[in-house]
């Protein structure tokens, strides 16, 4: 599973629920899969970049990190039990939500929505392929 960084940026910016819940947000967070390390940068609630070339020297506030199996289940059309959200996957399946917990909790409505947007992006990529 490859996540197209440009499609993810555009999809997040076009999603009304994500934009509403991400209002005033200035942050950078990582989406980590087995093959990708995407650095999502937000300025005042808008995704300004999804950087596919992130390195260990880049600062991030929190990360969403999992194996290929984690992501496949999280982004499935109907996720299996306890893959319906990052939080449940963290508690029961070893998925990792790590970083500044105050930021994570304060913006969890937006973070929660990223899973649904990611699922849409991946589904559209598969249709296009």
């Amino acid at each position: 599973m490859e996540i197209n960084e440009d499609r993810l940026r555009d999809a997040l910016n076009a999603d009304p629920e994500f934009r509403l819940q991400a209002r005033y947000w200035n942050t950078q967070f990582r989406i980590v899969t087995e093959s990708q390390n995407l650095l999502v940068r937000l300025a005042d609630g808008e995704v300004t970049a999804v950087d596919a070339g992130a390195t260990p020297f880049d600062t991030w506030d929190f990360q969403l990190a999992g194996t290929a199996e984690h992501w496949a289940n999280l982004l499935a059309p109907v996720p299996p039990p306890f893959f319906q959200d990052y939080y449940a996957a963290m508690l029961y399946h070893g998925f990792r939500i790590e970083g500044n917990m105050k930021t994570i909790m304060a913006y969890y409505p937006a973070i929660r929505r990223t899973r649904e947007v990611l699922a849409q992006v991946v589904a559209r990529q598969e249709v296009a392929a």
Binding site: D85, Y87, M105, Y108
Partner: protein, 291 residues
């Protein structure tokens, strides 16, 4: 012609642990009384679908209560409640429900509650088996220890009132109808800021039947444990562990549903709960004959 819901709301004044509370409840239907308890940080609107379903209200008098500090049950005017952090205790919950049943002069009702209310089902069965003919614990477990460190984040000056409902959204099943998931989440967004955390002091810390669940006597009070497949707060294994400890209890798995069955997927929940309520109502008759 206007369409009205066949649901009536009233207030009753209850004195619990020496304090008078003005308590709001809604009711609908006739027949075996069923007292309905909402989840932590929420209110009786969670039960609205059941209260408006004529297939249920034909045989059952449903009574959905707002605990003090929840919904329309305001904090007591006699207390300086703003000088201390709200915390719910098991002793208060038990005393409240016994007082509520007495005030409404209910004849050994069925009690049904979800999550925090599910935990209370088992606590009532243990401590007040004579007051109820049966209890239905939805998402009830022996305990919910292990996540206590989340509590400070749930009443925090720098975290808004959208976070709690977002977390509740994650407890719903992916196939539950979105309009009802969103309604469930909306109701959660309206709890007073300290209440969810305060309720979880009972849910996560106070409630623990690990050593005592086996003392519940199902000859005196019927016990049902309903368990949802997608509920990560009370996973099926934890619900099954409670049922296994209570000899004679009934364990009912609910596939494709999450932590809030009555509000996130009312049609599916009705299919599951109606046979349970019918059997639970009869368990009172059996107990009465034995008495």
């Amino acid at each position: 012609m206007s369409r009205f819901a066949d649901v009536a709301g009233r207030y009753v004044y209850l004195t619990v642990q020496g304090v008078e509370y003005r308590v709001y409840f809604e009711e609908a239907g006739s027949g075996t009384p069923v007292v309905l308890q909402h989840t932590a940080g929420c209110d009786n609107r969670q039960w609205r679908h059941l209260l408006e379903d004529p297939d249920v209200t034909a045989d059952f008098r449903l009574i959905a209560v707002d605990l003090p500090y929840h919904g329309k049950s305001l904090p007591p005017t006699s207390e300086r409640w703003w000088t201390t952090e709200y915390t719910l205790t098991e002793e208060f919950l038990l005393a409240f429900h016994v007082a509520f049943v007495e005030a409404l002069e209910l004849d050994r009702p069925v009690y049904m509650g979800c999550s925090m209310g599910g935990h209370l089902a088992a606590d009532l069965a243990l401590r007040h088996p004579g007051s109820y003919r049966a209890v239905v614990g939805i998402e009830a477990t022996l305990h919910s220890h292990g996540m206590e460190r989340i509590l400070p984040w749930l009443y925090h000056p720098e975290i808004g009132n959208d976070t709690k409902p977002a977390l509740m959204h994650t407890l719903c099943a992916p196939d539950s109808p979105e309009e009802f998931v969103r309604e469930t989440v909306w109701v959660y967004s309206q709890g007073a800021p300290p209440v969810f955390k305060g309720d979880l002091e009972y849910y996560m810390v106070g409630h623990d039947l690990t050593e005592s669940a086996r003392e519940i006597d199902t000859d005196r009070v019927g016990v049902w444990v309903l368990s949802a497949e997608y509920d990560w707060a009370a996973p099926p294994a934890a619900c099954a562990a409670l049922a296994a400890e209570v000899r004679g209890s009934h364990f009912v798995p609910m596939t494709g549903i999450g932590h809030f069955p009555m509000s996130e997927n009312p049609a599916r929940f009705k299919q599951i709960v109606l046979p349970v309520l019918r059997e639970a109502a009869l368990s009172g008759q059996v107990a009465a004959v034995r008495a």
